[in-house]
Structures are given as structure tokens and as C-alpha cells.
């Protein structure tokens, strides 16, 4: 008899040897030392939607050193799902994690996690009004959330009736100009003293980025939304707004074969740039756009753009196929290539320290 009564338990025991042991703890816990991050650029890598694989990188342009995945390596925690933006305030880095509904706070010089703001819906950007008050815009809620950056507690909301989402914010005196991007065509004006919406400005379709130039003019980039084939034409445009009159005073029509995005302004506030297939540059006093982009797209699919406010050096990301480490191209303010390096998946925004 090949198998007898005694062999059955033995067989079962042998089979159990196939049983495995998975190491979830080892997988998620990690602590590694990193260099200090006193001067340079944080690169916020969005990661894939619903994968939860966003990450934070830091690049020092003086030493050309790069540190990837620093939030996880330093803190032993993943950043979350779709890291959207980062803003530094009082040596604290506020990293907005869009699809995790929270903002992580880190020490901006060593990357250590010091706190978080939770209980948000779909946060996009944070704007600091002062040391005790900050506003958080939201993609999926018609409101601005008010928080205290010291206690990290939500202190109130500003409802935005008629606007399902809010996007980027820029402040002029006591007024905050907030773009309503998703399926919208307005910039709303909030009085930061009263936390009230006091006006709204009609723009082109889907105003996204907003910046303030050296002449205290507000610029916004409207991507033109999306038009079903055969039912019309997209009209993306760059617009200049007078914050006093609260009116659009100039519009630059853009080619409709791309989706203009990532409006940025240099450190001196006299030159703005954006992506529209290639990288376009416009002096704030120019009356028309150049005929050709400042940097051609070549074989790249440019995804994001940032300008160092201290040096006006340019950083451009290419997400390649959106499923692998994206690449950053580092250019001088005049467009001469300085460096390139790979960061995380879908490098989506830059924050300069």
C-alpha cells in the first residue's frame, strides 16, 4: 500500500510546508536617513489614481543630488493617493493629497512628518492668508475649507454656490481670487477678512492656474474644456485680469490642439510660462504670443512645469507612459538644458525651498 493510515497526516503535514508567510509589515515599514533639504526643489509625484503610490522627491540643483521617495523613506508611511501640490509656510511643508482627503505636514528641512489635516473631501491646493488662517480648495465639493495651520484644525468653510469645485488661488491685498476649473468658467473673489464670496469674474472655459505678476495683474489659463466632436470648437486662452476692476482685460487665444496647463511665473514676476504641447513663454507686457514655443515638445509629453522663484530656472516633467518613473528636465532661465533625472510616477508639481 503506497499510502496507509499513518501516511495521511504525514502527507497533510508535508503539504502544509507549501504554506507561505507574507510580510506586510516589512513591506510598509521603512526608515532611511536622508540628506537635509535646505535648498532645492520638492517634486510631488502624483502616482496612479487609486494605486496610492504617490511620492515625494527632492533635488538640490547646486550639488545635482536627487533623493526619491523621501516621505516614505523618512517616515515609514506612504504619501497616499494622488499627491496634488505642496506649499511651504514657516518651514513647514504642506503636501495636499487629493484622493486621500488630507494634507500631510512635514518639516521642510528634514522631511519629518509633523502632523496632518484630515477630513477634507478632495483637496487641491492650500493658500496661507496669514499664520492663523489658510484656505483649501476642493475638486469635488463646492466649498473652500478654512484651517488653522498651527493647530491643523478645520475652523470653517466658505460655500461656493453654483460652483462644484475650486482650484488655484492667488491673493491681492485682502482679496483672494480662486479659479473654478472643473466644467466652470468663473474666478470667484473672496474677502479674506470676512471669509465671504464677494464677486465672480467670467473667464474662458475651465480656468485653472492663476498667478500674480509684478504689475499686480492676475493671469489665468483656461484650457477650453472639452467639446464633443462636431458640436463646436474648443477655445483655450490665456487671460489677464485687473483685480481692481475685477474684469478680464486681455485674452490671448491659444491653439486648440493641446490642453494648456501649468501656468507659472518667474521670480521677478515679469514672465509667465505654460504648457501647450511645447513650453510657451510670454512677457507680461507682450501684446501677443510668440509664433513658436520657447521649448519644443519633441518626443516628450510634457506634464508639468515649475519655475524656481529664486533663480528662474525651469523644471519640466515628462510622465512617459504614466506607469513608470517620470523624468524631470532642468533648464536655465534662458532655456539651456542643465540636467535631467528620474523621480516618481507622474511628477505633477514642484515646490521650491
Amino acid at each position: 500500500m503506497i499510502i496507509n493510515r499513518l501516511n495521511i497526516p504525514l502527507l497533510a503535514f508535508t503539504l502544509l510546508a507549501f504554506a507561505g508567510c507574507m510580510k506586510d509589515d516589512l513591506w510598509v515599514k521603512s526608515h532611511q536617513s536622508t540628506n537635509r533639504m535646505t535648498h532645492g526643489v520638492f517634486i510631488i509625484n502624483e502616482g496612479n489614481f487609486m494605486y496610492g503610490n504617490s511620492s515625494l522627491s527632492f533635488y538640490d540643483p547646486e550639488t545635482h543630488t536627487l533623493q526619491n521617495d523621501i516621505f516614505f523613506n523618512i517616515n515609514g508611511l506612504p504619501l497616499g493617493d494622488v499627491a496634488q501640490s505642496m506649499t511651504i509656510h514657516n518651514n513647514q511643508g504642506f503636501i495636499v493629497i487629493n484622493n486621500s482627503g488630507k494634507i500631510y505636514v512635514i518639516n521642510s528641512s528634514d522631511g519629518k512628518y509633523t502632523g496632518k489635516i484630515t477630513g477634507l473631501t478632495s483637496p487641491r491646493y492650500i493658500h496661507f492668508v496669514n499664520n492663523e488662517k489658510a484656505y483649501i480648495s476642493d475638486l469635488y465639493a463646492g466649498k473652500i475649507t478654512i484651517v488653522n495651520p498651527v493647530t491643523l484644525q478645520i475652523t470653517g468653510v466658505i460655500l461656493t454656490p453654483g460652483h462644484a469645485s475650486t482650484e488655484q488661488m492667488v491673493q491681492w491685498n485682502d482679496l483672494l481670487f480662486v479659479s473654478c476649473w472643473s466644467f466652470d468658467n468663473k474666478i470667484i473673489v473672496i474677502d479674506t477678512r470676512t471669509d465671504q464670496v464677494i464677486n465672480e469674474i467670467t473667464t474662458g472655459k475651465q480656468p485653472g492656474g492663476v498667478v500674480l505678476d509684478k504689475f499686480n495683474k492676475i493671469w489665468t489659463l483656461c484650457d477650453g474644456g472639452w467639446v464633443r466632436n462636431g458640436t463646436g470648437t474648443r477655445v483655450p486662452m490665456l487671460q489677464r485680469i485687473d483685480p481692481v476692476l475685477q474684469l478680464v482685460e486681455k485674452s490671448f487665444k491659444l491653439t486648440s490642439d493641446g490642453a494648456p496647463s501649468r501656468l507659472a511665473i518667474n521670480g521677478s514676476g515679469d514672465s509667465i510660462m505654460f504648457i501647450n504641447n511645447g513650453i510657451w513663454k510670454l512677457g507680461v507686457t507682450q501684446s501677443s504670443l510668440d509664433d513658436h514655443p520657447f521649448l519644443n515638445t519633441g518626443s516628450h509629453l510634457y506634464y508639468s512645469l515649475g519655475i524656481d522663484p529664486h533663480t528662474s530656472e525651469i523644471y519640466i516633467s515628462d510622465a512617459i507612459d504614466y506607469q513608470q518613473q517620470g523624468i524631470i528636465y532642468h533648464y536655465s532661465s534662458l532655456g539651456a538644458k542643465i540636467d535631467s533625472f528620474k523621480t516618481g510616477i507622474i511628477p505633477g508639481s514642484f515646490c521650491f525651498n
Binding site: 506586510d24 494605486y51 466644467f183 516628450h300 513608470q324 518613473q325
Partner: protein, 683 residues
């Protein structure tokens, strides 16, 4: 945090419990008047077909795997994804317990696996794929996998293969049935009833099921942490898997008529309702009132089939439909303002088909099969953004297919077949789809065989691929696959022990593989990749028999697969070319061991998947670039009690036996050790 709201979900549950009691006694009553039929899973091991046995010339060279009857009974309360992952080398990508599950057959995409239920294609014409978590094992009697070229005997388009679900009846002159009730961890409940009855002229089978789970298993979330204000150390929260409850119910009615000795007429109708919420990711810390979602689906599947057995051939004519309505709602509650609908997505697809086939035996050695089918697929899909008008598409596509197959047995040891299929998609003919298979038994040793097959196949883009707004790409080409299989196997009996083993090697090249990627316009759009090559080896071994009072059966599968991206690089920095496709494991294995004695039975199920990359570049620089290998152990044991009029079976299932902390995708925690208790009564 969401509190338990099962009552909101199951207002009918109290009624169902009452109904259950009534049904239970009704069945018991029926049983008293019926002749006992001994349906047992205490391993009265019947001859179970695992792989090719005698040469059937029409199937020569084709690789298939039939899931055995014991495994089918053991998996009654699970869905098709669990049955397949536990018994076959197919990789099931599961997004959580009760959540969506898709299949990767031989390293291909989910849309390359087709699921046929008695000839009805269950793949959504909108998405191109099947959610395996929505198909209950309750409603099928036989599950067979047709690998690669073998799938062309049914239809084109399955570049990975076909999962074939079939129902059958027995022409008994008696009433029989099955009643199953179960409770499990996390508020899980399972109910199933099947009543069969009739005579030699007419048979009726009625099946109904209901299952529900709060699915709120506890776990310590190590992906988020608060900082202890005194010590500075991390405080990991203990959480429950909220927002992931599910509720499914369905009815399957079958009528079989035998009006003449040569004719069988079948009518079937399958209705199913599925409802679930999708859990948040582990890193999610949104407001509890934010992003509240709900997904529901209703399916109607009528089918009629006529079989005529002539002197030299079998005529089969069938017609049916698969109609599915889906709704997904995502909303946020804002204090002081109306609820904000973030996503309101609705779709309705209707697939109608008619098919006729004739299998004619030209001689004892030569047969000819021809078949023709027409499919009408219609999709209406809308999505309503906040404060906007609905946007979407309404499209129809009509497909036709005609195939012929010639099969020959040259002698007792050698058989071969060739076939050709012509598809017309919309109004465009695809190139002819050829296929050939050969099988040879070189030795006198019974059960030893060599086989091989070759084919070409085309998979058409789904209607979402073509028309989705925004991004649908009407210029997409069909995916074109070239497939080859070679295999060998042996089966033998030594005393009371039966052994079998087989090895199959395969390779395929798929041109124009469809993938969705972002565009400069900001939305995603599908495009045709240049090529993906897949290749691999599949092993199957099994042993069964009797040792003293023990019956035992062990069956195992092991597969090695490469699915390599051969696309043109996007730029010089693209590192994806030559790499394994994301989320497809290189290796997978499973093993099922049954032992029974004195009407006690014990089953151990073990499943393994190797690491899976989450990036196209197969990078390992971050922990989140790789999912660690997956091992899972489940244990079932029970006791049968034979009564005069039927058999009671009491069974306990222990899932995740070693209480592993694990995940199948990056950010969904899976449950720890959990239990279910099942009581089954067969008469």
C-alpha cells in the same frame, strides 16, 4: 466613520429569514415524497475529467481544463473568481473581498478572457471584460477552460481563452433539490435553493440565491498614523473595512423539453441583481460624509436552445440576450448645502445573439462542423458631471461570424483538425481566422499523449474603446494574436491510485494591443501598442485513490508566464520595453487536497502568486513598485449525515488559515482569518 447599516441594505432580510424557514420545511416535506438521491461530496471519487483523455478528434491538440465536480460543490457559495483562482493557473486580480475581480488568462488583458454561459457571451460589449465577482457558482453545473486556440471552437476574440459555463439536467422521473444556508464572519449570509423535477419529457430546474455581507472586517491600518504627542511614536488606528458591503440575489429558471427522442428544447432565464459600495483606500482620511458611493447592476439573460440529434449529425440552434443596467453614484454631503453629486454614471447594454451549428459525421473517422452566429451589441452610456448636462454615447455594432472545421482520426493514436472562421465586425470583414490541432498517442501506454495547436485570432475593440466620451478612438484596429501550444501528458492507474500529469508550453504574439494613455488634451485615449509577446509553461498533476478507509484526491497547477511589452519606446527615457506587463505575475500555483473517511471530509486549498510589478518599467526602487508574493491557505471540513430521504452536510470553512496580513492590490486590506458555517441538504 460609517456605522453598520445592514438594515438599510437588507430591508427584506427579515422576510428572507421567514421565507427561509418556510422553504426549509417545504423542501423537507418534498423530500419525504421523493426518492433519495445520494448527492455526496464525501469523496466518492467518480472519474473526474481533468485533461485530455481519449482523443476526441474535434478537440485534438486543444488545451482545456474542466473543474471537477467536487471542487464545484466545495465552491458553491463563492463566486467564479474564487473558483478559478483556487483550481486553475489563471491569475485573478481581485480588488478586495466582494469587490471587482478580473482574469488574466496566460498573461493577457481582462478583455482577452471571454466568459460564455451556455453560449451567451457575458463579456460587456461596453468594457470588453467580465467582472468575475458577479458570477455565482450556484448557477452553473460545469466550468471548463479553453486555452488559446481551443477557444476558437466557440468564438473568436478570446486571445487568452474562454471560461465556459454550462448547465445541464438529468431526465429523472423524480423531484430533487438542494437547500443551502450559511453564515459567516463580518455579517455574511448565504442562501441557495435548487428544485428540480419532471419526467422523461419535461424537466424544470429552479435556482435562487441571496448573499449579503457587511464585509466590515477589522484591521490595523499601518499606512496611516497619528503622532503620539508625548512620545512622538506612531499610533496606528484599528479600523474596519467600511463602505464595502455587498448584496446579491438572483433567479435561474430552466425548462428542458424532450418532445421527440431526437430533440431537446431548452429555455433559460437568469436574472441577477448586484449591489455594493466600494471601500476607500488605506491611505484615505477624507471626511466621512465625502465621496459616498454606490454601485448597482441588474442583468437579464434569456436563452433558448434547440438540439436535434440526427443519424449522422447534431444540429444546435440557440438565441438569447444579455441585458445589463449599471449605475454608479458618487456624492458628497456638505453641511449647509445640498448634497453634491460628483459622479452619476449610468449605462445600459444589450447583447442579442443567434447561433446555429451543425456537427456532421462524414464517416467514423471524419467529421465536419459548421457554425454561424450574429450578435447585436448596443450600448447607451452617460455620465453627468456636476451642474452639467449628461454626456455619453449611444452606439450599436452588429457582428457576424461563420466557421467550418474538419476533423479526422487517422488511426487510434493520431487525430487532427483544421478550421477557418470569417468574422464581419460592423461592416468590415476581418482576415480569415485559421486554426489547426493535432494529437498523438505514441505509446501503447494508455493516457500518454503529445499534442499541439496553432491559430490566429482577432479581438475587436470594445464600444468604450471606440466611442467613450471623452477619449474614445474610432480609429482603433482590432488586436491580432498568433498562438501556438504544445503539450504532453500521462495518466495511469497503479492499484487503487490514479495519477495524472501534463505539461503545456505556449507562446503568442499580440499585435495592436489596446491600452489607454493620457493625451495632450488632458483626457485618456486608447491606442494600439505595437506588440505584446506572451509565453509560458503550465503544469498540472494529480493523484487520487483510496487507502484503507480514506479516500483522497490531490490536484495541483503551476504556471510560469512572461508577458513582455514589445511596443516602440515613447522616448529615450522609456524603460518599459522588454519588461513584464504590470500586475501580471510571472508564476502562479494552486493545490487542492481532499481527504475523507467515515463521511467526514477535509479540504485544503492553497494558492500562490509571485510578485507583481505595479510599474511598466518593473522598477523596484520603491516598495510600492512591487506587490509581494501572495500565499493563501483555506481549510474546509465537515460531516455528512445520511437520512432516509436525503443527506445533510455540515461544513465549516476557515479562510486565510494562518491569519496573514496581506493585500492583492496596493491599497486594499484583505481580511484576516475568517469563518463560515454552511448547512446543505440534498434530496
Amino acid at each position: 466613520m460609517v456605522t453598520k447599516t445592514s438594515k438599510q441594505w437588507s430591508p427584506c432580510y427579515k422576510n428572507i429569514i421567514s421565507l427561509k424557514v418556510i422553504l426549509f420545511f417545504s423542501i423537507w416535506f418534498c423530500a419525504l415524497f421523493s426518492k433519495a438521491q445520494h448527492v455526496s461530496d464525501t469523496l466518492k471519487i467518480k472519474p473526474i475529467t481533468i485533461f485530455a483523455k481519449l482523443i476526441i478528434k474535434e478537440e485534438a491538440g486543444k488545451t482545456s481544463l474542466k473543474i471537477d465536480s467536487v471542487s464545484m460543490i466545495k465552491a458553491l457559495t463563492v463566486n467564479l473568481s474564487d473558483l478559478i483562482s483556487q483550481n486553475t493557473p489563471i491569475f485573478i486580480k481581485e480588488y478586495g473581498r466582494g469587490a471587482m475581480a478580473t482574469a488574466s488568462f496566460r498573461g493577457t488583458a481582462p478583455s482577452h478572457t471571454q466568459v460564455l454561459w451556455n453560449g451567451v457571451n457575458l463579456n460587456s460589449p461596453m468594457l470588453g471584460m467580465v467582472d468575475f465577482s458577479m458570477i455565482p457558482v450556484y448557477f452553473t453545473d460545469n466550468v471548463t477552460l479553453l486555452y488559446g486556440s481551443a477557444s476558437l471552437s466557440e468564438r473568436s476574440g478570446a486571445l487568452g481563452g474562454i471560461v465556459k459555463l454550462e448547465n445541464s439536467t438529468q431526465w429523472h422521473d423524480k423531484l430533487s433539490g438542494r437547500f443551502l444556508t450559511g453564515v459567516g464572519s463580518y455579517g455574511s449570509k448565504d442562501e441557495f435553493i435548487k428544485i428540480s423535477g419532471g419526467n422523461k419529457k419535461i424537466q424544470s430546474q429552479t435556482r435562487a440565491f441571496y448573499n449579503y455581507s457587511d464585509n466590515d472586517y477589522p484591521f490595523v491600518n499601518k499606512l496611516i498614523a497619528d503622532i503620539d504627542p508625548e512620545t512622538g511614536s506612531y499610533l496606528y488606528p484599528t479600523q474596519r473595512n467600511l463602505n464595502s458591503k455587498y448584496q446579491n440575489y438572483g433567479l435561474l429558471q430552466e425548462i428542458y423539453l424532450h418532445p421527440t427522442p431526437k430533440t431537446i428544447l431548452t429555455f433559460r432565464y437568469w436574472y441577477q441583481h448586484n449591489e455594493r459600495t466600494l471601500p476607500r483606500l488605506l491611505t484615505n482620511e477624507t471626511d466621512a460624509n465625502a465621496n459616498i458611493n454606490r454601485q448597482s447592476e441588474q442583468a437579464h439573460r434569456p436563452l433558448t436552445e434547440l438540439k436535434y440529434y440526427g443519424n449522422k449529425g447534431i444540429l444546435n440552434v440557440s438565441a438569447g440576450a444579455n441585458i445589463q443596467l449599471s449605475k454608479y453614484l458618487l456624492k458628497t454631503k456638505i453641511s449647509g448645502a445640498p448634497d453634491q453629486i460628483v459622479t452619476d454614471s449610468r449605462s445600459r447594454f444589450e447583447s442579442y445573439f443567434i447561433k446555429a451549428s451543425y456537427n456532421y459525421q462524414l464517416s467514423d473517422k471524419l467529421s465536419f462542423i459548421t457554425s454561424a452566429n450574429s450578435d447585436i451589441n448596443q450600448v447607451n452610456s452617460t455620465n453627468t458631471p456636476p451642474n452639467q448636462q449628461p454626456q455619453g454615447y449611444d452606439q450599436q455594432r452588429i457582428d457576424h461570424s461563420l466557421s467550418v472545421q474538419l476533423s479526422n482520426s487517422f488511426n487510434d493514436r493520431l487525430s487532427a483538425n483544421i478550421s477557418a472562421r470569417q468574422d464581419i465586425t460592423g461592416d468590415k470583414p476581418t482576415p480569415v481566422i485559421p486554426s489547426a490541432g493535432i494529437e498523438y498517442h505514441p505509446l501503447a501506454v494508455k493516457g500518454y499523449f503529445l499534442k499541439g495547436s496553432l491559430s490566429r485570432n482577432y479581438h475587436q475593440p470594445s464600444l468604450n474603446d471606440l466611442y467613450y466620451i471623452p477619449g474614445g478612438n474610432p480609429r482603433l484596429k482590432a488586436e491580432e494574436g498568433y498562438m501556438a501550444d504544445v503539450g504532453s501528458g500521462l495518466s495511469d492507474t497503479i492499484g487503487t491510485i490514479k495519477l495524472h500529469g501534463s505539461i503545456t508550453g505556449y507562446c503568442s504574439g499580440i499585435n495592436n494591443w489596446i491600452i489607454w494613455l493620457p493625451t495632450p488634451q488632458g483626457y485618456w485615449e486608447p491606442y494600439n501598442m505595437k506588440r505584446v509577446n506572451t509565453s509560458g509553461l503550465e503544469f498540472n498533476v494529480g493523484i487520487s485513490g483510496k487507502a484503507e478507509s480514506f479516500d483522497f484526491k490531490i490536484n495541483g497547477n503551476y504556471a510560469v508566464n512572461k508577458s513582455i511589452n514589445r511596443d516602440a519606446p515613447h522616448s529615450w527615457a522609456d524603460e518599459s520595453v522588454g519588461k513584464q506587463l504590470p500586475f501580471i505575475p510571472r508564476k502562479s500555483a494552486n493545490l487542492v487536497a481532499n481527504i475523507s473517511t467515515m463521511r467526514y471530509h477535509f479540504t485544503w486549498l492553497w494558492t500562490y502568486y509571485s510578485e507583481r510589478f505595479t510599474t511598466s518599467s518593473n522598477d523596484k526602487s520603491s516598495n510600492f513598485d512591487v506587490l509581494y508574493p501572495y500565499y493563501m491557505n483555506n481549510l474546509n471540513f465537515g460531516k455528512e449525515i445520511h437520512l432516509n430521504h436525503g443527506i445533510f452536510n455540515l461544513e465549516i470553512k476557515i479562510l486565510n488559515l494562518f491569519n496573514e496580513t496581506y493585500r492583492t492590490v496596493l491599497q486594499n486590506q484583505m481580511p484576516g482569518r475568517n469563518y463560515s458555517l454552511l448547512i446543505r441538504y440534498d434530496f
